[in-house]
Symmetry: C2
Subunit: 353 residues, 2 copies
DNA sequence: CATTGCTACTGTATCGTTACAGATTTTGTC
DNA sequence: GACAAAATCTGTAACGATACAGTAGCAATG
């Protein structure tokens, strides 16, 4: 047993400015590098006392495994990729989402990498990139479609993922979603309670899954609470606010004008309000309105609008937990969650913002 | 020259499902791995024709260097870290920022990693982490202070970075900033033009650099345009909207009530408006108001408020370009930029949103 | 005492890349 | 034609970690 071996780090004390590696610990404890590695993983073939010693030293010198080393050897990246459209930035759903995800990842070894793509181009692009380069251990996607090619691809290639929104392909996969059907249904209830009967829905773009959900809830509401739909399909929440406003102003001026509105997005609601007012009408008087609200602004500036808060930060947390669960091999059906709408009471002094 | 060498990949044709490596190209071209590596880097000691051949094959098979390999060998991570407070999420400045950064990084090898920290804790935490683990090649920080320990640390340790906001430590470093002094000055001009004389400023928290900038511009404006300040220092834009509203309502009810307001944040402006209205007064009538607006909402819902759009997405782009420049060794003084306020005309139908 | 089995530990090879120090061939010079 | 100087190309080692196949020591077994 002499000093010329490679594994035993005895011959070469580590330079002291550098960050500690397994070799450093091996040197300090007099053990082999392999032993140290296995001790830190709590492998069964290492003695209890040795493990304790190794752990102590590792902690003392602040050892943190080199990610590149681990990644090269094992393929584990310790990265979660959040795939985003550069365009889904109207009113920034991204911020609270990133925060929510970060909150969960902070307690783990995972880093969050943002992988953007231009939605005008191939949405499969970033997924392929991740698959080809092994860039992440897990992926979070949004703007989910009923038949989503990304879901198919990731499932086939066994890349753990979670979707923000559900699919309808018979594939059981992790997701987090907001109950948009329930939201629309309850929104209709509230409008009819105020005597509104001619209702309109500002809906999500037709290709996304929650378009149908919201539509269904809306229509079920109409039926159950006795109201009729005013058609407004030519614009949706993905359109520019100006487009929404102009279209809605026109509608409000026509004989078709609705007396109740359900808005699938807070930003859209602002445009709708502008349209209503351009048409010389008033919310809370000529029409009532229920909307999703990502923040409290509407409640402060237009308290007559009924708002429903969708907690995107919570969604971020749920999504992060779900991908990690998927990576750890938990069964997908245990990684699905649906959050329920919470309608808000009118603005009061006591509410924290 | 036989097949038992290591570098020459001849003996072992690469398995075909796996992603291509230098070895794959070496096998296909019959060259050594080293040669391939150097050819792809356009090293001077490789023949022109060889380089061409290697590049062609590399492109054909879609070779992309393994990041872990590069990182392990060279220490280059190809990562830019965006350091964020989990709390700076009121009204989500983060979204457009991330988008702007991504736009620039999309054309490079860099990935964007979001590194959050709890602002209640040590802001140096994430910086130390990045330094200790070599987690990134460059860092973007915000909430910059006049004497910023993070800047000192990163400068000392030679970690390339850029700040969103300036410092006052005599250290020349890359930054992007918005000209808050000019904003406040111009805001005062506009208010005085409307005959307002008793002005109040909703300011940034005192520890951040742009607090002084905004304050200075405000006061210079007061002097130049002949108006006086109404004190309102006990709340700032970091406080909760409820706190701002309540404090401002009180002020508006007092004999001290201002007739002009400059708001350093769009979210804060909403709270101020609520405060004004709770006090039974009206914007555009009893008081005028100028505010920064991160989005167009205010203009839609309260067109009487004068808004100034701060382009955070642009800031993201500038910051990304600056860090990369810093990483590439460009002199810091060439990586500084200041964006000028652009006051907006009142809402019109033609404006795209 | 030889054999077996167990516990605790260790060396080697490897992931993909690049720095470095050759090696080989071609070209140039006198 | 001999020799030096370029011009090209290549092998080895190393970055830090881990899978795998050992080895050494010791107790139990017959």
């Amino acid at each position: 047993m002499d000093g010329k071996t490679k594994n035993r780090a005895a011959a070469a004390p580590p330079p002291d400015g550098a960050r500690p590696t397994l070799k450093t610990i091996a040197f300090m404890t007099g053990l082999g590098i392999t032993t140290v590695s296995r001790a830190l993983k709590d492998a069964p073939d290492i003695g209890a006392e040795t493990k304790e010693r190794v752990r102590l030293v590792a902690k003392q010198i602040g050892y943190q495994p080199n990610r590149a080393g681990v990644r090269l050897r094992t393929g584990k990246t310790n990265v979660i990729s959040l795939v985003l459209t550069l365009e889904e930035e109207i009113m920034g759903i991204t911020s609270p989402m990133v925060v929510g995800i970060s909150e969960i990842l902070a307690g783990t070894q995972y880093h969050l990498v943002v992988t953007p793509y231009s939605s005008t181009k191939d949405p499969l692009g970033p997924i392929r990139y991740i698959l080809d380069t092994g860039a992440a251990d897990g992926v979070i996607i949004s703007r989910t479609e009923p038949h989503d090619a990304r879901v198919t691809l990731m499932t086939e290639r066994r890349l753990p993922f979670v979707t923000h929104g559900r699919t309808e392909m018979g594939i059981v996969h992790p997701f987090h979603d907001f109950d948009n059907e329930r939201f629309a249904y309850e929104a209709v209830r509230r409008l009819t309670e105020r005597g509104r009967r001619r209702l309109v829905l500002l809906e999500p773009p037709p290709n996304l899954t929650f378009h149908a959900h919201m539509r269904t809830g809306f229509e079920r509401g109409l039926k159950d609470f006795g109201a009729e739909a005013v058609s407004f399909h030519h614009v949706n929440i993905d359109h520019s606010l100006v487009a929404i406003r102009d279209a809605f102003e026109q509608l409000m001026r026509s004989v078709e004008a609705p007396d109740g509105i359900v808005s699938g997005s807070g930003a859209g609601a602002v445009a709708l309000i502008a349209g209503i007012e351009s048409a010389g009408k008033k919310v809370g008087q000529d029409v009532d309105m229920v909307t999703k609200a990502p923040s409290d602004f509407l409640r402060w500036l237009r308290p007559e609008v009924m708002t429903m808060y969708e907690d995107i930060r919570l969604a971020g947390r749920e999504l992060a937990k779900a991908v990690i669960g998927h990576i750890e091999g938990k069964p997908p059906e245990t990684l699905q969650s649906l959050s329920q709408p919470e309608f808000q009471r009118p603005m009061s002094k006591s509410r924290k913002v």
